[in-house]
C-alpha cells in the first residue's frame, strides 16, 4: 500500500499544539468561546510532562489564615530572583484559585483535610503552606481535562508533529506545517490562530526528568518563525532524582523537604543530604533553609559536590530520609515509595537507609515571550505553559507550574479564539513554503550515510550537561556555541536515516527534533554567555555573585541572520503594567 506524501490542507479556527495541561486548557477555552479547535500531539495524548508531574498546585485558597495572594506574589518573585514578569505573576496568583475550581468542576478530587477544606502542604521556596494536590497527581489532572476535550468533541490528532509555522507577508501566523508520523502524511493547517503548548526542552540533557518528546519543538519553531524568547538561559534542575537504573535515571524524587518534618512544619528538618565524606554539605551553602531551600540552590550544591569528586560512583550524593515521616509519605506519595522499592530496595523504600540522588533537568523556565493574554511577539501566535517564559523568572517555585498551565492555558485559548473569530474571512496561507520544507525533510529519508540522529542527540546532551548545565563559565559557553555551529552546519544536513518507511519512523522524527534542540542549545548558551552574573538557576563560575545593579533585567533572544541575537531589557514591573492589568480585569469581569 503506497503512502500518500502530497500535503493535505485542513482548515481550523484555532490550532493548539500539545496535549499537556496548557494545551488541553487552551483547547477547552477556545472551544467554549466559539472557535472550532484542532488539538495535535506529537505522541499519544497522554505522553506529556503534565502527566508525569506530581500535580502539586500552589494556590491561596483561604485555608491558611496568614497567607495572601500578595505573599504568593512575593514568594514567586523572590524565587525568580526578581526578574519575573510581574504582570504575569500577578495574574498567576490572582487566578490560580478559579482555575483550581475549574479542575474540581472537571472532576478532579483535590485531597481534603476535612470534607470542605483542601489538604495544604509546603513546597520548595514557599513561605506558607499553600500547595494542594490530588491523589492521582499529574495523571488525574491530565485525565480530567482530556475527558473535557472528549466531551466537547474537539478534533484531537495524535502522532502529529509540529514542523514549522507559516506566516503571511506581514509575518502574521496563518498556518502550520505538521507531519502525521503514523502515516508519513504532511498536513498544512490553515488557521486563524496557533497556540503553542509543546512544553519544554528537558531533552537537551541526558539526565532529565521529562518525557522523551520534550525537545522544545514549539519554542524552536516559534523562534525560527521570528518570535522572541525570554529568560531562555534559565533551566530548572530538580535537585534530587534517581541515579540508577538507566530507565529511571533522572526521574524526579521531588524535594528533600518531603523526606523530613519540613514538609509539615515551616521550621522542621528536611531530609538530609550527604557527600561521600559523610558531610552534610548543604550547610556550606544555606545554613538557614538547609535542604528546604529553593531548587536552584540545592541542585547547584549537589552538582558542585559531584564535580569536585565527592559524589558516588554513579554520579550522585546520598539522601537520608527521616523514618518518622515514612507513614505519611507513603500515604501522600505511594507511587514514589513503589519506585524507590523497585529501583533501590526495601530498606531505602522504608526510609531506613540512605539512597542515592542526583540533579536532573526538569523545567524550561524561559521560553516564548508572551503578554498577559498569551500573545507572542508574532500576530496570530500564542503560547502557554512550559513553552512560554516570563512567569517564573530565574527559578520556579515547586508547585507553580500546575497553576501556570491552567491560568495561561486558559488565557491563550481565550485570546486565540477571539483572534481567529475576528479573521474568519482571512486569505488562505501560501502553502509553497510548507511544501518546500516538506520536500527537504522527505529527502532526508533517502540519505543512508552520515551520523544517525540518536548519536547526534547524545553529543548535544553531553555538551549541554558539561558546558550549559548547572555550572557554567564563559569559556565553556563559548566552546559550546562553536561546537553547536559546527553540528548545525556539518552534521545536521547530513544525518542518515536507516529506513525509508514513512510510518512511525523514529529516526526521521528525531532528525526533525535535533534541529530544534540545536537551535535552543544555541539560544540558551548565547543568553547564558551574555548574563555575566549568577542568578536563580543560572550559575557562572567566573561570575559567582549576583549583580543587581546590572542584571535585574531580562534577556530576550530572537533570530537574526540565522543566529541568536540577545537583547537586554528592564524587568516588566507591576507599576508600569498596572493600567493594562486593570483594564484586563475589567474585561474579565464584564
Amino acid at each position: 500500500m503506497p503512502v500518500p506524501n502530497e500535503p493535505r490542507v485542513e482548515r481550523t479556527d484555532v490550532l493548539v499544539i500539545g496535549t499537556g495541561g496548557a494545551g488541553l486548557r487552551a483547547a477547552i477555552e477556545a472551544h467554549d468561546r466559539g472557535a472550532q479547535v484542532t488539538l495535535v500531539a506529537k505522541g499519544l495524548a497522554r505522553a506529556t510532562h503534565t502527566r508525569m508531574s506530581g500535580g502539586r498546585y500552589n494556590v491561596v485558597s483561604g485555608i491558611v489564615a496568614d497567607d495572601h495572594t500578595d505573599i504568593f506574589f512575593q514568594d514567586t518573585v523572590a524565587a525568580g530572583a526578581r526578574i519575573n514578569n510581574q504582570l504575569l505573576v500577578r495574574i498567576l496568583v490572582d487566578e490560580a484559585l478559579e482555575r483550581a475550581y475549574d479542575l474540581e468542576a472537571y472532576g478532579l478530587a483535590w485531597e481534603r483535610k476535612t470534607a470542605t477544606d483542601y489538604l495544604v502542604v509546603a513546597s520548595g521556596g514557599g513561605t506558607r503552606l499553600r500547595t494542594i494536590g490530588s491523589f492521582d497527581e499529574g495523571i488525574g489532572v491530565s485525565e480530567v481535562m482530556l475527558h473535557q476535550v472528549f466531551r466537547r468533541q474537539v478534533r484531537l490528532r495524535e502522532h502529529h508533529m509540529l514542523v514549522d509555522l507559516i506566516g503571511d507577508d506581514q509575518n502574521r501566523i496563518v498556518g502550520a506545517l505538521v507531519l502525521d508520523l503514523a502515516h508519513g502524511q504532511w498536513i498544512i493547517y490553515d488557521c486563524g490562530a496557533v497556540v503553542i503548548a509543546t512544553g519544554g526542552a528537558s531533552q537537551l540533557y541526558a539526565t532529565n526528568s521529562g518525557p522523551v518528546f520534550n525537545t522544545g519543538d514549539g519554542i524552536a519553531v516559534a523562534y525560527r518563525a521570528g518570535a522572541e524568547l525570554v529568560d531562555i538561559e534559565f533551566m530548572q534542575f530538580i535537585p534530587i532524582a534517581f541515579a540508577y537504573p538507566p530507565t529511571a535515571k533522572g526521574y524526579t524524587l521531588t524535594e528533600p523537604q518531603h523526606y523530613g518534618m519540613r514538609h509539615y512544619e515551616v521550621h522542621g528538618e528536611p531530609g538530609k543530604l550527604f557527600n561521600s565524606l559523610g558531610e552534610r554539605f548543604i550547610l556550606k551553602h544555606d545554613s538557614v533553609q538547609r535542604e528546604g531551600g529553593t531548587r536552584d540552590i540545592l541542585a547547584r550544591a549537589i552538582m558542585l559536590e559531584i564535580l569536585e569528586g565527592r559524589g558516588s560512583a554513579e554520579g550522585g550524593v546520598w539522601l537520608e530520609p527521616d523514618p518518622k515521616v515514612f507513614e505519611s509519605f507513603l500515604r501522600e506519595r505511594p507511587i514514589y515509595v513503589k519506585r524507590i522499592l523497585e529501583n533501590y530496595g526495601e530498606q531505602e523504600a522504608r526510609f531506613l537507609s540512605r539512597f542515592q540522588v542526583m540533579p536532573s533537568a526538569l523545567y524550561t523556565t524561559g521560553g516564548i515571550r508572551i503578554d498577559s493574554t498569551g500573545h507572542t511577539t508574532l500576530p496570530g501566535l500564542f503560547a502557554a505553559g512550559e513553552a512560554a517564559g516570563g512567569v517564573h523568572g530565574a527559578n520556579r517555585l515547586g508547585g507553580s507550574s500546575m497553576p501556570d498551565i491552567q491560568v495561561f492555558g486558559r488565557r491563550a485559548g481565550m485570546a486565540a479564539a477571539q483572534e481567529a473569530l475576528d479573521c474568519v474571512d482571512r486569505p488562505a496561507p501560501d502553502i509553497r513554503l510548507g511544501l518546500e520544507r516538506a520536500a527537504k525533510l522527505d529527502s532526508a529519508l533517502h540519505r543512508s550515510e552520515g551520523l544517525r540522529p540518536p548519536a547526534l542527540k547524545r553529543k548535544i546532551q553531553d555538551l549541554m550537561w558539561q558546558n550549559v548545565g548547572l555550572v557554567r563559565n564563559g569559556q565553556g559557553l563559548a566552546d559550546a556555541l562553536r561546537t553547536f555551529a559546527e553540528f548545525r552546519e556539518q552534521i545536521l544536513p547530513h544525518l542518515s536515516i536507516s529506513s525509508q518507511t514513512r510510518v512511525m519512523n523514529r529516526e526521521w522524527m528525531e532528525a526533525i527534533e535535533l534541529e530544534n534542540l540545536l537551535a535552543l542549545g544555541e539560544c540558551m548558551a548565547s543568553a547564558a554567555l551574555t548574563r555575566t552574573e549568577t542568578r536563580g538557576s543560572h550559575y557562572r563560575q567566573d561570575f559567582p555573585e549576583g549583580n543587581d545593579g546590572d542584571w535585574v533585567a531580562n534577556l530576550y533572544v530572537c533570530r537574526d541572520d540565522g543566529r541568536p541575537k540577545v537583547k537586554k531589557r528592564p524587568v516588566v514591573s507591576l507599576t508600569q503594567s498596572h493600567q493594562s492589568h486593570e483594564s484586563l480585569k475589567g474585561a474579565r469581569n464584564g
Partner: protein
C-alpha cells in the same frame, strides 16, 4: 553489576512494505536492573535504527509503552530484563508498525463513555453555580483519586480473557465508570453504562488487578458495580464527611 547476555526476539511489521510480519532476533549485553525499555532503546541506538516502538515517561506514568513480553502484557519501562524475551505489540489492537499499536479505538471508547461528571438532569455543561469547593470527605476523595490513577495503558484489557471471548469492553473502562459512579458531582447512569459495556461478562478472574502496572483493581470496581446492581447501594455518593 550482574551483567549477562540477553536475547530479544522482536515482532516486526510494516504495513507499507507489502511484506508479512516476521520476528527478528537481537543479542545484547544487559545488567540485571535494566528494563525491557532499556533493551528496546539499546537495540534502536546500536542495532536497528528502523525499530518502531513508543514510550514517553520511562517511569510508568504515561502508559504508552505497553507491549507483550513472553506472552504477558506489561509496560516496557517497568518490566525487568530477562535472558530470553519475546517482545510483541499489545493485543488485541491493530498494529501501526512493529511494536506500536493504534490506540484510536480505545480512545474512542473512552470518549463515547463521557467520563466527565454529568450534572443532575443530565446536563454536561460545567455547573457554574456549583463552583468552589464541593463537600467531599477526605477518604472518599482519596478513593476517587486512586481510581483516577489509571494509566489507560490497556495492559488489563490485553490480559482479560473475557475481552477475548465475550462482548466485554474491558476492565479499564469499568474502572473509570466506577470512578465517576463514586464521584459526588456525577449523576450519570454509570451502572447502566457498565452493563451496556458487558459488566456481567467479566469472569471475576482477577487477571486485570494482577497485571495492572499502577496496582489498581478494576476487578474491585466490577465487584462494586455488581453489588450496587443487586443491593441498589453506592458506597459513598453523598459525601458529607461522616459516611466514610
Amino acid at each position: 553489576m550482574d551483567e549477562f547476555q540477553a536475547r530479544a526476539t522482536i515482532f516486526r511489521f510494516d504495513p507499507t512494505s507489502g511484506q508479512p510480519s516476521r520476528y527478528e532476533q537481537f543479542e545484547l549485553p544487559v545488567t540485571k536492573n535494566m528494563r525491557v525499555l532499556d533493551v528496546l532503546r539499546s537495540i534502536y541506538e546500536t542495532q536497528a535504527g528502523d525499530l518502531a516502538f513508543q514510550y514517553a515517561c520511562r517511569v510508568g506514568r504515561c502508559g504508552t509503552c505497553a507491549v507483550i513480553v513472553n506472552g504477558r502484557p506489561v509496560l516496557a519501562c517497568q518490566e525487568r530484563v530477562k535472558p530470553k524475551m519475546k517482545i510483541e505489540p499489545l493485543s488485541p489492537f491493530p498494529v501501526l508498525r512493529d511494536l506500536i499499536i493504534d490506540y484510536s479505538e480505545a480512545e474512542k471508547r473512552y470518549s463515547d463513555l463521557n467520563l466527565a461528571p454529568i450534572a443532575a438532569g443530565g446536563s454536561t455543561a460545567p455547573a457554574q453555580d456549583a463552583r468552589g469547593r464541593a463537600t467531599f470527605a477526605p477518604d472518599h476523595a482519596r478513593e476517587v483519586g486512586l481510581m483516577g490513577s489509571c494509566l489507560a495503558c490497556m495492559v488489563c484489557v490485553s490480559a482479560c480473557p473475557a475481552v477475548k471471548e465475550r462482548a466485554f469492553d474491558g476492565p479499564a473502562y469499568m474502572l473509570q465508570l466506577r470512578r465517576l459512579s463514586e464521584h459526588p458531582a456525577d449523576h450519570g447512569a454509570r451502572l447502566e453504562q457498565a452493563l451496556d459495556g458487558g459488566l456481567l461478562e467479566c469472569f471475576s478472574c482477577g487477571a486485570c488487578a494482577e497485571v495492572c502496572p499502577a496496582d489498581l483493581s478494576p476487578a474491585d470496581a466490577i465487584r462494586d458495580f455488581r453489588r450496587e446492581m443487586l443491593l441498589g447501594q453506592k458506597r459513598h455518593k453523598h459525601s458529607n464527611g461522616e459516611d466514610s
